[in-house]
């Protein structure tokens, strides 16, 4: 790929959206659930784990059989690939790009544990006897396999890659995709991510003692942790050349993005929220906007004591004393890990397009030491021009994206 300096395409637009999570199987169902303030958490029904009836999760309300039927993928394939295809296909269809086959199109997807849901099954038999365990269960263990399966189904073979930076994965995928367009390497990129619930991640977060046994309460003084969720979210990014040929207006543009590292601890955030502060600051600088221009922040807001206080501190450092409305939609979807940046990017775009702000469910008490609190009710007819979306992950990986009305 030849990159020539100073020939950057200036603007990257969002032309399509696709999402699946515990509150809906497509964009329309999500809008309904938000309007009804209906959370997606409940008891575990699909994972075969001893934590059933003990830890709530936010499951997508479709079995693997149903997802396989919807997508045309084999039923034995990883749930992550199934979820990914549902949302990626919705996004591509929604974009309705004319003459797509003559454009340079890429698929940039993210996930945190690849086909782990199947590897777990394999591992039980394998541990008992290393010559046992069905190989088809472990064949697609790699994160890249999820992307490849979906790209093949979408017919995208020109460019594909996979990112994995824990919980900020798909936010990074989105701006990597935008940069591929800015560098004039591609015209269209479907970017985002997917993750299904696995015993691996459920037990992992459980050992860290950051799972709330009740429905999570992000940014509340009495928050006790996160609820795990699953799903997929994708945006279709297009160049200014492609946007001119669309049969519709683009939703908005990706005006700012930045990744910074907290460099503090493998899993914990620094008390000052250094990484998140730098990510938000960098994204603002990239977009040429001031903090006062931001009309809504879709917080990372996992509901863990550590994240929300670090993120809150970073928000305070940037926005004090004028805070924009903000909320964590993880109070609806749970924390979908590698999918969350993609899912929340879709929500951020919808906030601009549908003039809505999502409530932060179950919020009661403002966090001590903070002069702000999240939005409590679903708000309509909001004049929203710029939305900031935060995604922070293990390894201090902090990413902020800014979407702007065009």
């Amino acid at each position: 790929m030849i990159i020539i300096k100073r020939r950057m395409s200036s603007t990257v637009y969002i032309a399509g959206l696709g999402v699946i999570s515990a509150i809906g199987n497509n964009v329309a169902e999500h809008l309904t659930a938000f309007g009804q303030e209906k959370a997606g958490m409940g008891d575990i029904t699909l994972l075969n784990t001893i934590h059933r009836n003990e830890l709530p999760v936010a499951e997508v309300k479709l079995s693997n059989n149903e997802l396989a039927e919807m997508t045309g993928l084999p039923v034995g394939i990883s749930r992550t690939a199934l979820l990914s295809l549902v949302a990626a296909k919705e996004a591509l269809t929604d974009a309705g790009i004319p003459d797509l086959s003559n454009l340079r199109t890429g698929f940039v997807s993210a996930n945190s544990v690849g086909g782990m849901d199947k590897s777990e099954d394999f591992f039980v038999d394998f541990l008992a006897d290393n010559s046992k365990g069905k190989l088809r269960h472990v064949y697609d263990h790699e994160c890249g396999s999820m992307t490849e399966i979906v790209a093949e189904k979408l017919g995208i073979t020109q460019f594909m890659t996979t990112l994995s930076t824990a919980c900020s994965s798909s936010a990074n995928a989105i701006f990597y995709g935008a940069r591929l367009i800015k560098n004039n390497l591609l015209d269209v990129v479907i970017a985002g991510g997917a993750d299904s619930l696995t015993k691996f991640t459920l037990n992992g977060f459980n050992t860290l003692m950051i799972l709330d046994k009740e429905f999570c309460k992000p940014f509340d003084e009495h928050r006790e942790g996160l609820n795990l969720g699953e799903g997929a979210g994708y945006v279709v990014l297009v160049s200014d050349k492609v946007v001119k040929n669309l049969n519709k207006q683009p939703y908005c543009k990706l005006s700012g993005y930045n990744n910074s590292n907290d460099a503090y601890h493998q899993t914990a955030s620094s008390p000052e929220g250094t990484g998140s502060y730098l990510a938000m600051k960098g994204a603002l600088a990239k977009s040429g906007l001031q903090p006062a221009d931001i009309d809504y922040i879709n917080l990372h807001g996992t509901g863990t004591p550590n994240n929300d206080s670090a993120e809150g501190t970073a928000v305070k450092r940037i926005f004090d004393p004028e805070y924009p409305p903000m909320s964590s939609t993880k109070s609806f979807t749970g924390h979908t890990l590698g999918a969350s940046g993609g899912i929340e990017a879709v929500f951020s775009v919808l906030a601009i397009n549908n003039k809505i702000i999502y409530p932060n469910l179950r919020f009661k008490t403002r966090m001590n030491g903070f002069d702000f609190e999240p939005v409590k009710r679903f708000l309509k007819d909001q004049d929203i021009n710029h939305v900031m979306s935060n995604s922070f992950g293990f390894g201090g990986n902090c990413t902020s994206l800014i979407f702007s009305r065009v």
Partner: protein, 351 residues
Amino acid sequence: MKVYIRSSACISAQQSFDDDVFLDNVIEYTGTRLKAIEPDYKAYIDPKQIRRMSHVIKMGIAAAKKCLTDGNTDMPGAIITGTAFGCMEDTVSFLTRIVEENEQLLSPTAFIQSTHNTVAAQIALMLKCHNYNNTFVHKGISFESALLDARMLLAENEANDILVGGIDEMVDTSFTVLTRLGLYRRWPVSNLSLLWTESEGTIGGEGAAFFLLTDKQSPGNLAEFIALKTLYKPADIKEEIVNFIESNSLTIGDIDLVINGKNGDISNDKVYHSLKNSLFKDTAIANYKHLCGDYSVSSSFALWMASNILKRGIVPELTIEQQTTVTSPKKILIYNHYQNKYHSLMLLSAI
């Protein structure tokens, strides 16, 4: 814009971490799995931390730190890694405990170190580096995706002195599973005869190779990194290679050496044989997978080898494919594919 490789450090099954030698005492192994030679980690990592770190984290950090030291850089402008399997040791360890302990009383250590971006994160933590940090995990082009990211950051003027690495570890479990999947030879083989006894399967490998990429010219730079391209299931690789070379205003005649990804497996090597008898019939060819084994990010070993060939003006004897002498090559093409699906091309020049 020109991109240069300022420095490189590589941990592999050969003595690649030692600057005094350059593949002149190639180590012979017999088996189907090559393990990386571990350096004295104490020179790079706080001894208190070493014992808590898995193999891939130690290899990654040591290679990254040596690369930075060799490149006289304290703080990279960005840290980007490529790894297909990520932290396998910790992943297997946590999975094992989930099964054996029936999901009870587990320790979080293996889980928190199992995420694919652990190495990139640990480097950032050690350096207190708040800059851009990313990790690519796409099978046979994980490393190339990281390189592309770095090249774009340079083109965008977003960062300079970018640390990019390819890292993958082979643990017993992955070796057993990949053997069952048919990737490796059924019988032990000498790595030095691997490429000349074609059969089904290759030998597995592992390693960590880091590079410091910059757009600043300097006599100390190892090589100019002219171009990079990845392809998925190309219909006609020969045509793609010609286009790639020509789009960089060169012809096949300008290429002094091709480093290819021959690995001793019949179906894997078919395309290399075909190119050797056609497009590359007048071009010197070098191999590398008999030295480091085959793994998803082995092209990072090839890039390390190419950079050193260009800097030192020496083509190590045991890498040369045919009975030709190649002295001081100026232009090198690296062509590798992983499992006939993911193909990558890299073009380098002496500075």
